[in-house]
């Protein structure tokens, strides 16, 4: 920390040459055009449905669709609570297990992080649906599993992974001596968890709650697939656009979805500020070679059992999808078949390759923009730096449909008519992930001493040489993190881009959503396997690159 505050944190001249000036101009322009403008369009459209100011859209929703608002809040709240309870339990178990078990748990959780959405819904229907393997074939039942309980379960299944990984991340930084001190002072293991571990893990828990809530309130796919008659705001927004082309209504619903997210985000920020101190001081003195925290038998069994059950559920889910991709059990027996693979090859391969192409482009461009953006915000005395930085983080709190609808509204005509093109899909994915890529780069930059830049300049390097010869090579790890994240997100996203997809720009996740909705579970399974496999390969290979670089970036 000290070295950053010496003299000044920034170079005195924000602009050295034409390169600086044009880079900042271009990046600021991009942020304004592709983040601020679309968001403004949604607000404008919802209040000016026919180019005249009116509350009509909102009035209509509040009088005729109050049930939807209630349903949305109900399901998101329940999903969030369920997700947080389960993921906190898993985090406690993982944090205090030995390294091997912790790695296995993390690996299984990572699998869901890189899977397309609806994987849980898909396996759930295959197992328990109207013609489900378990319910119908084995038990001879024919009941309907559709309804809010299903949505809640599927959202929990989908969100626990990221929530648990976030909480594990924070919990692992807690200094073990604090736990030992608490035990030493006579607290039982259970109350040590309650009074020491959970309060110190609060930043992680709060962040996870926020993410889960936003994802869950923005989720329209799960209710459509297994909600049956149970509808939520997000589904209504989707149907307003896709079914009826009623954009003002969709805009108004998007705003309504955004409001609780903003509210939760404020709580999140409030908590992050006050407890940040704790987590960072804990991180400094971590000593995690020691995992001798004995929680006592009953607690260990309880926590372990829940973790085991949930992880088994995740593993079974993947086995089911894999099996249903290559076999047919409609007759009650498992018969190997290549029927689904053939039919995917016949019709869906272009979408799959398009997904990969879009993800690569988005990954590279997002990382480049994110790195340059964070460099100029962190290292130069830009007057507009803070504003641009703030605008660039907005997509992080935007529910997917909001950001998708925002793009249709902003880019369906003059001056930038992009709807229907592949460019709009890629742009949407890029700017959706910019916040994460910027944060990764900023975190790396904080570890690269300003003195390195001073030194390079001092030794006679030009501005360009400093940026591309010294700063960027040292940011390679951040570039890779950002690339992996954007690639994975783009490969697996549906929420925002489904509004922007036309037949000529279909991507694999949207195809998967469509075949799933049509009840073609075998095809959906094949697509799911292909997506999982691809993201897995990219994640593993790029992460190993990252680990190789870790040594250099340390200094």
């Amino acid at each position: 920390m000290k070295r950053l505050s010496r003299g000044s944190r920034n170079l005195d001249a924000p602009f050295y040459d034409i390169f600086d000036l044009s880079t900042v101009f271009i990046i600021s322009g991009l942020i304004l055009i592709f983040i601020l403008w679309p968001i403004t369009e949604v607000l404008v459209k919802s209040f000016f449905p026919d180019n005249k100011f009116s509350f009509e859209m909102y009035r209509d929703i509040f009088t005729n669709d109050r049930k939807l608002i209630y349903n949305s809040l109900f399901i998101s709240t329940l999903s969030t609570i369920g997700t947080i309870v389960i993921s906190t339990i898993i985090a406690i178990y993982a944090t205090f297990s030995n390294r091997k078990i912790k790695n296995i748990i993390s690996a299984i959780l990572m699998m869901t992080m890189i899977s397309p959405p609806f994987v849980s819904s898909l396996s759930y229907i295959i197992l328990f649906g109207r013609r489900g393997l378990v319910t119908h074939r084995l038990l001879g039942l024919s009941f309907s599993p559709y309804g809010w309980q299903g949505i809640m379960m599927m959202q929990i299944a989908g969100n626990v992974s990221i929530a648990a990984l976030l909480i594990i991340g924070i919990m692992s930084t807690i200094d073990r001596n604090l736990i030992n001190a608490s035990l030493d002072l006579g607290e039982s293991p259970a109350s040590t968890i309650k009074k020491v571990v959970l309060p110190l893990a609060k930043p992680g828990i709060v962040a996870a709650s926020f993410l889960t809530f936003v994802k869950s309130i923005a989720d329209f796919g799960t209710p459509i697939i297994i909600g049956g008659k149970f509808n939520v705001l997000a589904t209504e927004a989707y149907l307003s656009v896709i079914g009826r082309g009623n954009f003002p209504r969709a805009a108004a619903i998007s705003v309504l979805i955004l409001i609780p997210s903003l509210f939760i985000f404020q709580i999140y920020r409030y908590h992050m500020d006050s407890s940040q101190l704790l987590s960072t001081s804990g991180a400094k003195i971590q000593n995690n070679d020691y995992y001798g925290f004995n929680m006592g038998k009953p607690l260990t069994i309880f926590v372990g059992l829940i973790t085991f059950l949930f992880l088994s559920f995740l593993v079974i889910q993947y086995i089911v999808i894999f099996l249903s991709a290559i076999s047919d059990f409609r007759t009650g027996k498992l018969i190997f078949t290549t029927e689904y693979i053939k039919s995917v090859r016949a019709s869906l391969m272009p979408s799959f390759f398009r997904s990969i192409r879009y993800s690569f482009i988005a990954g590279i461009l997002t990382s480049m923009i994110g790195l340059l953006l964070s460099y100029y915000v962190e290292r130069r005395n830009l007057k507009i730096g803070k504003t641009i930085d703030f605008i660039s983080t907005l997509p992080y709190i935007m529910p997917g449909p909001f950001f998708g609808i925002a793009y249709i509204l902003a880019f369906n005509g003059h001056p930038l008519a992009l709807t229907g093109t592949g460019i709009i899909v890629v742009l949407n994915c890029i700017f959706r992930q910019i916040p994460i890529s910027t944060k990764a780069a900023s975190a790396s930059l904080k570890n690269i001493s300003m003195e390195l830049e001073y030194a390079a300049r001092d030794l006679g390097s030009s501005n360009l040489k400093v940026i591309f010869g010294v700063v960027m090579p040292l940011l390679k790890p951040a570039f890779l993190v950002s690339f992996i994240n954007t690639f994975t997100a783009t490969m697996t996203t549906v929420g925002a881009i489904i509004f922007l997809i036309t037949p000529s720009t279909r991507v694999a996740t949207v195809e998967m959503f469509n075949v799933l909705r049509d009840g073609k579970y075998g095809l959906a399974s094949v697509l799911a396997c292909m997506l999982i496999f691809t993201t897995l390969i990219i994640n593993v290979s790029f992460s190993s690159l990252l680990l190789g670089k870790a040594k250099i970036s340390k200094e």
């Binding site: 001092d458 030794l459 006679g460």
Partner: protein
């Protein structure tokens, strides 16, 4: 004058980090900027290096105004506190880094120059090592070579020894001084360590809260401090109020004994510190109460707490 800093002021967010700083440095001189953290010494150094622009004032090098010249074009080089070696380059590549920006040098003469300088700082055996594998002292040498190889007109060093352990700090201090004298480099050296400043400098600039408190040779600064801040910052000082004057007495200039002397007091504290023992004596001089510090070298005289003792001042210095 070789390097001339004239009435330089630097503000950050309306707070003056450096106020009206003026200094003249002759060629081959080693001048230290000394002061507590936050006194503006690093900010001043950054302005000489060209990383920060003064709000007011000018900097001249050999009578040329260099105030506005960017660091890459300034014939001034800095050795940074954390050395700022490029972690993705090895020792030789770090040292040739700056030479590569000189288009006129051939590759061979570049490497020859670098090797020569690496030799001078005693790092020949580590030429192809990654800089991340080096110890703090070795990194320091590479950083020094990387700057010196460019033949800067002024070498700036920003707390270069603060990251080294005590023994190594002494060794590097002497080596830096030796290299500086050998190559006759003009050097500005920033430190908060008074002993370091006294041992290495030709002249010391003592700073506090952005202002120069005193400029002088190490002896002048220690023995004739101009004000209480300097007296207290460089070593310890007993400060006595006599009429309108303040008198400074260094603890080692206090004579102590059981036999009658000018003043009388009682020992209230005793700290054994190895080669000397430090006593605190409670006393009243001209109706004012003081706690006088006395440092006694060796152990031939030994006093105990509560002892009634006599004392006198061997050397006093009035402050204007």
């Amino acid at each position: 004058m070789y390097l001339k800093i004239q009435n330089v002021t630097k503000e950050f967010d309306n707070i003056e980090a450096v106020k009206d700083f003026s200094l003249e440095v002759s060629e081959g001189e080693l001048v230290s900027l000394l002061g507590p953290s936050g006194c503006g010494k690093t900010t001043m150094l950054r302005m000489i290096g060209g990383f920060l622009n003064p709000n007011k004032g000018s900097i001249y090098l050999e009578n040329n105004d260099i105030t506005k010249i960017p660091p890459e074009k300034r014939p001034v080089s800095t050795v940074f506190q954390n050395y700022a070696l490029f972690p993705h380059l090895n020792v030789l590549d770090n040292v040739t880094y700056g030479l590569k920006n000189n288009k006129e040098l051939s590759k061979k003469s570049m490497i020859d120059k670098a090797n020569e300088m690496i030799d001078i700082v005693g790092m020949s055996d580590f030429k192809n090592r990654s800089v991340t594998e080096l110890s703090g002292g070795q990194q320091q040498r590479v950083a020094l070579a990387r700057s010196l190889v460019l033949g800067p007109k002024v070498l700036l060093m920003d707390e270069p020894l603060s990251n080294l352990d005590a023994k190594l700090r002494l060794k590097m201090r002497e080596e830096i001084k030796k290299i500086q004298k050998e190559l006759k480099i003009t050097m500005i050296f920033v430190t908060h360590d008074q002993e370091e400043a006294i041992s290495i400098s030709d002249r010391i600039v003592v700073m506090n809260k952005g202002e120069i408190k005193q400029i002088g040779s190490p002896r002048e600064i220690y023995e004739h401090p101009n004000n209480i801040f300097v007296a207290n910052f460089i070593g310890r000082a007993n400060i006595l109020n006599l009429a309108d004057n303040k008198i400074i007495v260094r603890p080692e200039n206090v004579e102590l004994g059981y036999n009658e002397m000018k003043y009388k007091g009682q020992i209230v504290e005793k700290n054994y510190l190895g080669f000397f023992t430090s006593y605190s004596i409670k006393t009243t001089i001209f109706d004012m109460e003081y706690t006088i510090f006395a440092d006694l070298i060796g152990t031939n005289k030994n006093f105990e707490i509560n002892d009634e003792v006599y004392f006198d001042f061997k050397f006093m210095h009035p402050i204007k």
